[in-house]
Symmetry: C2
Subunit: 108 residues, 2 copies
């Protein structure tokens, strides 16, 4: 995995399968079998995805009998949110709106 945590987290999110797994886990814990079901993919592939997500601090694993349910963890997502916060002004600022406005009236 990547040495720095933020890179690991972004890398984990850069895969639609893994984001779909997170979306499912947002509804609650689920065992591997259930997570694998929507995908045309072998079990081991799902296990790997879960390992990546776990390494990125996005999920944690539990144990219920022979099942190892995965659970969404806030830590990883919060790290992304914090990083993103530094840039929020770029899509929320009044100045950008003004800029857009000026470009718009110029085009007319």
């Amino acid at each position: 995995m990547q040495p720095d945590p933020l890179s690991a987290t972004f890398a984990a999110l850069a895969d639609p399968t893994r984001r779909a797994i997170l979306a499912r886990l947002a509804l609650g814990e689920a065992p591997v079998g259930e997570l694998a079901q929507p995908f045309a993919m072998s079990g081991p592939a799902v296990t790997k995805h879960l390992k990546v997500l776990e390494g990125a601090g996005l999920i944690s694993r539990g144990r219920i009998g022979q099942q190892r349910p995965a659970k969404l963890e806030a830590a990883g997502l919060k790290a992304v949110s914090d990083w993103l916060g530094e840039y929020r002004r770029f899509w929320e600022s009044r100045f950008d709106d003004l800029d857009d406005y000026l470009q718009q009236i110029q085009g007319e």
Copy 2:
């Protein structure tokens, strides 16, 4: 590059060099040479990073003489923010919600 835009954006962010470039661009446009300066890396490597960032909608390129300045673009970051929004409740406690609410009514 990845077919779906969000994957491309997350993949672009999953590299410390590219995030450092974005951090620099948050201070304003900059030509390639200046962006390359802090890194122990060849020019072509930086060009590649810029291409990845551009493909992810995180920057755009301009032209001033023989320079091709890069500029931070809100689009890509906003897409990440929107995606993240669906999960915000997972790391924001009731107290944080209150905090947001207070800030919101204070801004009015």
